[in-house]
Point group: C2
Chain length 332, copies 2
């Protein structure tokens, strides 16, 4: 399932408005059980698929097409419940799977789309195919934008900060180029390429006039939609929202990437609209510079604790990237 | 040598004013070379020593005493060059080693004390014992306070900060208890127990009236001398210095531990008098709180880079400790 989730990454973000799904079909190998041969997905991979740009074909359709007759008796791993609703754009995956000859389907997580929501599983089971719901963390993580939209009606939000060891994003005079090195900045461009939209505050837009595009070879066309949090007018090519809650009404945005500044970071954090922190930290001290986050209105330290869970850390040149996630036990 | 450096830690800080040295004597094992048996320290450890409280006996004396006759033909690993100067408090270690019957001495680093400074090595060589100078990083690290005093006339300085992810040491209203958890605070007490003196700023002293003692079972008596950076009067039990450079005149302090606040941190950093950063970081965001370091007078980011080298990281409960060292390539 982790391999299927990794395949799904290839569909992100161009699968929008559809979820980026991954699918792998594994042939059964000859495994001998106590009372004779037991079907077991230990054979070769006979099909792989991921949601294609624009949302079609779906991952399951691509993997089944690739497998052809070799799907007979095989096992499908798919990160999301196959869709149950027919569309003018293509067949329902639950139909395709039901007619495939597969013996077993392992599903990463349910699709909360009311047109599917369990009906995909039922449909496949009725065709005599064994279905297992894995409730896989890697599948859920790979679908976090889609699931957040379906369950909370808003995009999955990443807040990115590029900091000194003492938490500053600029000198007192505003100089911020560069705190982090080229490896960390390239990683930020990769994260931009995975987002549907990027947002900055009005102050950052006026001060820096940032391009916010993706400057990685081959990924230039992945540059996301540009949003700005401001009550004022914005230049052509930018879409303004006047408060964080307005992200709830944005169509087709599964992944929102927030790049600053301190007022914008604070506004989204106060509204509890941040799911993930990307902290790029350089081994420097600034002292008396510009803090990364404006006032959050905390009246006690207790309220600051238990909100963030460490997820991952990696070295990027001399900088360190730390990823924290909003504590999954907090109410959504 | 790393094992001898770890032994030396047992002498810290009570060996003061002497360096905390570690020594291990290893018997030669029967190793066969191309042209017959070759002496090689592959046998058992026959003696171990570390500088005792008050500075005597020295590590070599303790290890030789323990080894007795088994020192004959053996190899001594010692973190610092054995002393060459006789004292009313005990014999010179170079004399003891010369008469020991050891076949070989491996020395971590030279002693810059002008009464030894190479004379210890010469004396031992003249006794027909092979001497190797290892220039060991672990030996030098374990002697950093002593070496800093001898070479720069000041203590080795550690600056400790307990921070949120966004680099704050307190809420805007001053609340700072607690940012880090019990594991990190216990680690700080252990670091206090390894220091000869702790320093805070006058503001921290007035605001928090900190005890700055060691609250670890069995280590209560290790509570270090208490210093305060202030131009004003100080309570009994505290020693005042009016500017960072005054640490150069402090007798018997090899390791100084600075605990805050932001003005004091900035004063020592501006004076380039910090050798090591201990950053305890809690997984919380504060936003609009009190920054850890006041203005450093930087006019450009270039001056902030290449000053700190990552040394170590460890998890302490939900907090992370990161240790950085002043870039060893910078002029002292």
């Amino acid at each position: 399932m982790a391999a299927a989730a990794a395949l799904a990454e290839r569909g992100r973000p161009l699968s929008r408005p559809n979820p980026a799904v991954g699918a792998i079909i594994v042939a059964n190998g000859p495994v001998q059980g106590a009372s004779g041969p037991v079907p077991c997905p230990s054979g070769p991979v006979v099909g792989q698929g991921w949601t294609q740009p624009g949302g079609r074909p779906h991952a399951e359709a691509m993997a089944l097409e690739q497998a052809g007759n070799r799907a007979k008796g095989a096992t499908l791993y798919v990160t999301l419940e196959p869709c149950a609703h027919r569309s003018t754009r293509g067949p329902a995956c639950a139909d395709l799977v039901s007619k495939s000859g597969l013996s077993r389907v392992i599903i990463g997580t349910c699709d909360p789309d009311p047109r599917t929501a369990g009906q995909g599983i039922t449909h496949i089971q009725q065709a005599g195919i064994a279905v297992t719901l894995a409730q896989s963390k890697s599948a859920e993580d790979s679908l976090s934008g889609y699931l957040r939209q379906r369950l909370s009606g808003r995009p999955h939000v990443t807040l990115k900060l590029a900091l000194s060891l003492d938490g500053m994003i600029a000198l007192g005079n505003g100089e911020s180029r560069w705190i982090t090195g080229p490896e960390a900045r390239a990683h930020t461009h990769r994260e931009r390429a995975r987002a549907d939209a990027i947002l900055v505050g009005g102050g950052t837009l006026r001060a820096d006039n940032p391009r916010l595009d993706v400057r990685l070879p081959g990924l230039e066309k992945r540059s996301p939609q540009r949003l700005v949090l401001t009550g004022g007018a914005v230049p052509t090519g930018w879409h303004a929202i006047s408060e964080p809650a307005e992200i709830c009404g944005l169509e087709g945005i599964q992944y929102l990437f927030i790049e600053g500044g301190a007022q914008t970071a604070a506004a989204f954090l106060k509204a509890d609209l941040v799911d993930r922190l990307l902290l790029y930290r350089a081994p420097i001290l600034i002292g008396g510079g510009q803090p990364s986050i404006a006032d959050l209105g905390l009246t006690g330290l207790a309220a600051a604790h238990h909100r963030w869970t460490f997820q991952d850390r990696r070295q990027l040149g001399s900088d360190t990237l730390e990823i924290y996630e909003r504590n999954p036990c907090l109410p959504a």
